[in-house]
């Protein structure tokens, strides 16, 4: 058991240390970094990003990729806003509408990938273009929002409220991560995700319905993106269809890879993805608070991701 614990911690230990170091340094230079206000806001973002990063992590573990997540935020956000503020649908119905649409899109991705044997990169790249375009067309390129959320304040609370001082999105992430930890690391379905990612052929010869497993991974990815899109919509309270969610799939991919997922498939963990997400958000926050020019934000993140993955490769090479 201890050996198992050791191997589990060992993989994620490096990034955990990096995260602690980063927080410690930032807090020393600018104490505002750990002010309640800043922690609340960063916690909010970690909650939202963590949810869809887990979804993308599942897909990456099967050896796939989903590039459409960012555009999906725009499309789902636009639909959600229209259903709530223009069509006047009951909030619960609007919420389930978003989840239903997301699941349908995930199912379409999975089917094209497993049945028609198209490459995940291509399928979801087309999704990236298609959903962005649809969002802009439907919204007429106008920025939408949720106004004062009259009639669905409770739903908005899910994104902007807090419980016991902890922002609600972080609670949602906690629930999602707990469930997904169990699913990925304790159930047969989770094992199959790894098996399909490590060697799909061998998985098929072991009688695993690999097409179904992969399809479910894409559905879960889109569903978690759907959940995150509701939280994000309320968080920004303004959905500009041409910019909303831009690059978010890349944040998720970066978080998963930083957290130990291999783009070749077959490797990864929920804890790693969470740590990766937290590290990325802490980094963005640091750029802000340390008065590093915000134009450098992407550059800083690029360098840190590169260093993180580089360190990981070097450690592996040494072990081998």
């Amino acid at each position: 058991m201890t050996a198992k614990l050791k191997s589990l911690v060992g993989k994620e230990l490096g990034i955990a240390i990096l995260l602690i170091l980063l927080v410690a340094i930032s807090a020393t230079i600018n104490p505002n970094f750990i002010s309640p206000n800043n922690l609340q806001n960063t916690g909010n973002l970690i909650g939202i990003y963590g949810i869809f990063s887990i979804g993308l992590g599942l897909v990456i573990i099967t050896g796939g990729i989903d590039l459409s997540v960012g555009s999906l935020f725009a499309l789902l956000g636009v639909m959600f806003s229209i259903w709530l503020t223009k069509s006047g649908l009951p909030p619960a119905l609007a919420f389930f509408g978003v989840m239903f649409l997301a699941a349908g899109i995930g199912l379409a991705h999975g089917t094209l990938i497993t049945k028609v044997k198209m490459q995940p990169f291509i399928v979801t790249l087309c999704g990236l273009l298609l959903y962005r375009g649809l969002a802009r067309y439907i919204a007429n390129d106008n920025t939408l929002g949720f106004g004062k959320a009259e009639g669905f304040e409770w739903l908005k609370q899910l994104s902007t409220g807090a419980f016991l001082g902890v922002p609600n999105p972080l609670w949602v992430l906690f629930v999602v991560a707990t469930i997904m930890f169990f699913v990925l690391h304790r159930t047969s379905f989770g094992r199959y995700l790894f098996a399909v990612g490590a060697n799909e052929e061998a998985a098929r010869y072991a009688g695993i319905p690999s097409a179904r497993i992969i399809t479910i991974a894409y559905v879960l990815c889109s569903l978690l993106a759907g959940l995150a899109s509701v939280l994000l919509g309320f968080y920004t309270n303004s959905i500009s269809p041409s910019a909303h969610g831009n690059f978010y799939e890349l944040y998720a991919i970066a978080a998963a890879v930083l957290g130990g997922c291999s783009l070749r498939g077959g490797e990864g963990s929920i804890i790693g993805i969470l740590l990766g997400t937290a590290l990325l958000q802490a980094l963005r926050n640091m750029v802000n608070l340390l008065k590093i020019p915000s134009s450098l934000e992407f550059a800083v993140m690029g360098v840190v991701i590169l260093l993180g993955v580089l360190a990981d490769s070097l450690v592996r090479k040494k072990k081998a």
Binding site: F182, R186, T187, S188, R191, Y192, F194, A195, A198, N199, E201, A202, A203, R204, Y205, A206, G207, I208, P209, G266, E267
Partner: protein
Amino acid sequence: MSNPSLLSINGVTKRFPGVLALEGVSLRLEAGEVLSIIGENGAGKSTLMKILGGVYIADAGTVAIEGKEVSIKTPADALTQGVRVIYQELSVLENLTVAANVFLGREPKKGPFLNEGKMVEDTRAILARLGSSIDPTTLVGRLSLAERQLVEIARALSMNVKILVLDEPTSSLTVEETEQLLNLIRDLRKDGVGILYISHRLDEVKEISDRVVGLRDGRNAGGLSKEEISHEGMVRLMVGRDIKRERVAHTIPADAPTMLSVAGAATLRFPESVVDLEIKAGEIVGVAGLVGSGRSELARALFGIDRFAKEPSLKVDGKEVRLRSSQDAIQAGIYLVPEDRRGAGITVAFSVKQNVSMPSLKDLKKGFSVDGEKEAAYAQEAVEKLGVKTATIETKVGTLSGGNQQKVVIGRWLMKGPKVLIFDEPTRGIDVGAKAEIYSQMRKLTDEGIAILMISSDMEEVLAMSDRVAVMREGQIMGILEGNSATEEQVMTLAVGGQL
């Protein structure tokens, strides 16, 4: 000092974490000589070859070529020294032409551009020397395995090799292709090339070798001169004991029920050919035939991996079965141990435990989750039943020897109580000792009333193990012979389309 040997290896030692793979191994190879290296899997042959090829670096010992000590630290160093190793897994690129493969990394140029014309002409010349008329502009992906091997050899020749190392070159070749390769080796020998030949097929080794050296547990186990080479002698060299090579008498009770019956099956590759076959409980039906005769296609279709071109009437233990997926086959009790062990049999990155339990996880649950204790006990039982040699069940399966990997795949199905087991090349690339264990395991299975369909290109294996031998050609069964009386000649006659 008189003429130094072409190659002399002295006291080479190589240690891996926890294993001493080679310990003070020495050997000599003369120009124009074919030296075969034999030994069970894990004896250190491949490690030795990889040291020669620059993939591994020896911890101790020296390698000298033509009397001069050389340092081989990378595959490029090996090539510079005139050493070319052709590994079991061929390293040709399927998306390039034959000529592009032969000159890969050393392309002749005309100014800044590739000199395609010269590449093609030179390749044609080399292939002609090898007695082949493969068109240099063909994509390698279109070639048969034997032809691809020829491309590898052509590549080696284009580099002026002095020492050619062949690691299990015939493991996926047909009988005729093997004969061609052996002839080629004889020609190369005449040209003064020194050849190190590694093979589990002792008949070949006997036919081609000038000398044989044995490795056992990473150490020199002695050698045989040309006159001393015999089947029994080689086996003794490898295992240090005699293994009998006789057919075990075996009879199936006349009233044994039919376990598998297939009528009117046609595979996608040969949609016009129809296969009818019955296997009784406790019977082993061997399927012989040349590579490409449609045997593996039949196996895959029977396991639900491929569709049938014509849906057969299929009965398992008297019950009508339809196969839409491998889950259906598993449900019906039909299991397959596939030919491509590393590609389709095992998941190398998984532990022994995870490989064994993979198809049974649903039965090892506590609530929603996989019960770790149940899973471990389940895997442990399979490991003990089959005598898998592994440190623990948490060991990564990729680190085990081929024979033990195969036992893991068999163990995974054994635990599920199979009715019909299909083996596709069950002992390919597996050493003599592990082979014998797999054979006795197969016999144990049939004693329990399981029906076995065994596809094999190893004639000895087919004749020794089968109760009946079905010979396939172009997707069709050309004849079924009684295992007790079938001869190699009869099988080959049917396999090439002749009449008995």
